[in-house]
Amino acid sequence: MTSSLVPPVSPTTPDTQCRPRSRPGRHPFWALVRVEALLFGRSAAGVVWTALIPPAAVIVLGAVPATRHPSASFDGRSPLETWLPVLMMYEFLMTAANLLPAVLAGYRERGILRRLSTTPVPPSRLLGAQALIYLSLAAVLDAAMLAIAVICGVPVPDQFAGFVLTLVLVAAAMLGIGLVLAALAPGEKAANALGLVVFFPLLFFAGLWIPRSQMPPVLRDISDVTPLGAGARAVQDCLDGRWPAGTALLVLAAYAALCAVVAARRFRWQ
């Protein structure tokens, strides 16, 4: 900086000159989406755990003959068919209920949401951008994993509408949980810790360690009323060619609604 500064601002006279501008001629919301997507791409851990490991797992399950073929111990399904719904649930859990609350709580902690509050673009747009990025990422990865599985011999789900409806409800429930965590956590570290607290139980009941078909009846009953247990059940129904169980869809919708109410009451921008 020197004393021969050319001051940047002339507030009273509207700018009539035509001068070059490196401003991205975008709507603010899409500028936010672009930047936040870019930032997600720069977080190596986030990319590895969402975009690389789960599709890699599907590829491995589909490539190995033993996990590709039906097995009596999995109710006549192949291990690939058994874990595909779980991995699909995992994507929404990881993005909407783990990465998103940590990012939001971190932004609040660092005063980024506060700075945004002073601009014409309210911080709710940032939340919208984050939700859009993470949910579409999970949806695209789920579609990609389904495509890989289909290539490896899993039948195309007859109930495509039911399948899409299920993913929408799973997305809503996971986003709701993510927002509740972001509301309860004072900062990024706390949000990560809370994220882990929900991460393992939800994945357990989705059937990551014990497939739902092998769970004792009591465990499976509990699994039915957890969001990802219900989600995995509904996806499995679709893969089996049935319309997803009404109770499963209801459970997902209930979590989404309940979490939305709690988050709306507890979430703070500053």
Binding site: P8, P11, L39
Partner: protein, 305 residues
């Protein structure tokens, strides 16, 4: 024209009253300082002006609008630099400026602003890797990117080294040259004295004085302190009896004369008549520092009584 108007502002956080009764008005084109010790209520006041907090009482108007209820009318023309407001850690400097530029209808060219703030070399550096001074300059740039009519700058130079502080002062002066009204929050007297047209001194949630730095200093009637080394011995008791002189004392070879506004001319005339030269003559006048200390000390003793 009044661009910011605060009347009888009051804000409490539970039991703790942060702002009791604050009123001031900013005229277009001036640099107005909010001065006060830590915890005086300065930041709460500007947060109410920026519309980040709802006042418990009183009235805040920015360009005639309520900053809480008419957000869009206010945010488009008010640039705010707040304490401890960061940027996404992995966002690069130019990316941050471009993002914020996209929020406003007629932004400044980000590259031009980078140049002015001396951040061109850091354009590709992520926020997390910037030094404190660079972060502060980016923060100022983000407050100015939307071509605001009014800029609020809170504790602008806190944590900057003296050279960076001086650069920032030059920047603020240059910003004002173009007609931007500035509300500057500070606890550095030198900063207020150098930059502000008017200052409001806030203490314990109240405005205790509001005037130009020179007027605040003049109001402090402590007179002046004159030090000199006489070329020949002088009787200091004789000096003390001169009109307008309160006291005179000898400190080694130096003589200290304390008196009112006219003491200097009386003293110099007296010495000239005696044929005595005043070597190393220094006149100390009360600074804004003294005025500030007197104002804030006065009110804290009153509030405890």
């Amino acid at each position: 024209m009044t661009v910011i108007e605060v009347v009888g502002l009051r804000k409490a956080y539970g039991e703790r009253v942060a702002v009791r009764d604050v009123s001031f008005a900013l005229d277009e084109g001036e640099i107005f300082g909010l001065l006060g010790p830590n915890g005086a209520g300065k930041t709460t006041t500007v947060e109410c002006v920026a519309g980040l907090r709802a006042p418990d009482g009183g009235r805040v108007r920015v360009f005639g609008h309520d900053p809480q209820r008419e957000r869009t009318a206010v945010t488009a023309r008010l640039g705010v630099q707040l304490q401890a407001s960061e940027v996404q850690p992995n966002l690069r400097v130019r990316e941050a400026l471009r993002l914020y530029a996209s929020f406003y209808p007629d932004p400044v060219d980000p590259d031009e602003l980078l140049e002015i703030l001396g951040l061109t070399g850091q354009a590709q550096v992520r926020f997390a890797r910037l030094s404190g001074g660079q972060r502060q300059r980016l923060s100022i740039a983000l407050a100015l990117i939307g071509r605001p009519a009014v800029a609020i700058l809170d504790e602008l130079t806190t944590g900057l080294d003296p050279a960076a502080r001086r650069d920032t002062w030059e920047l603020i002066a240059a910003v004002r040259e173009r007609g931007v009204t500035v509300l500057l929050v500070t606890h550095f007297m030198a900063e207020a004295e150098r930059l502000c047209d008017r200052v409001a001194v806030i203490n314990a949630g109240r405005v205790v004085a509001c005037d130009s730095p020179a007027a605040l200093t003049a109001r402090l009637d402590t007179g002046q302190r004159i030090r000199f080394v006489p070329s020949e011995p002088v009787d200091d008791r004789e000096l003390a009896e001169l009109p307008g002189v309160e006291s005179a004392s000898r400190h080694g070879e130096e003589i200290l004369v304390v008196g009112g506004g006219e003491a200097l001319s009386v003293l110099v005339t007296h010495l000239a008549r005696r044929g005595v030269l005043a070597h190393r003559l220094r006149v100390e006048q009360p600074s804004l520092d003294d005025a500030y200390l007197a104002l804030t000390a006065h009110t804290s003793s009153r509030s405890t009584s």
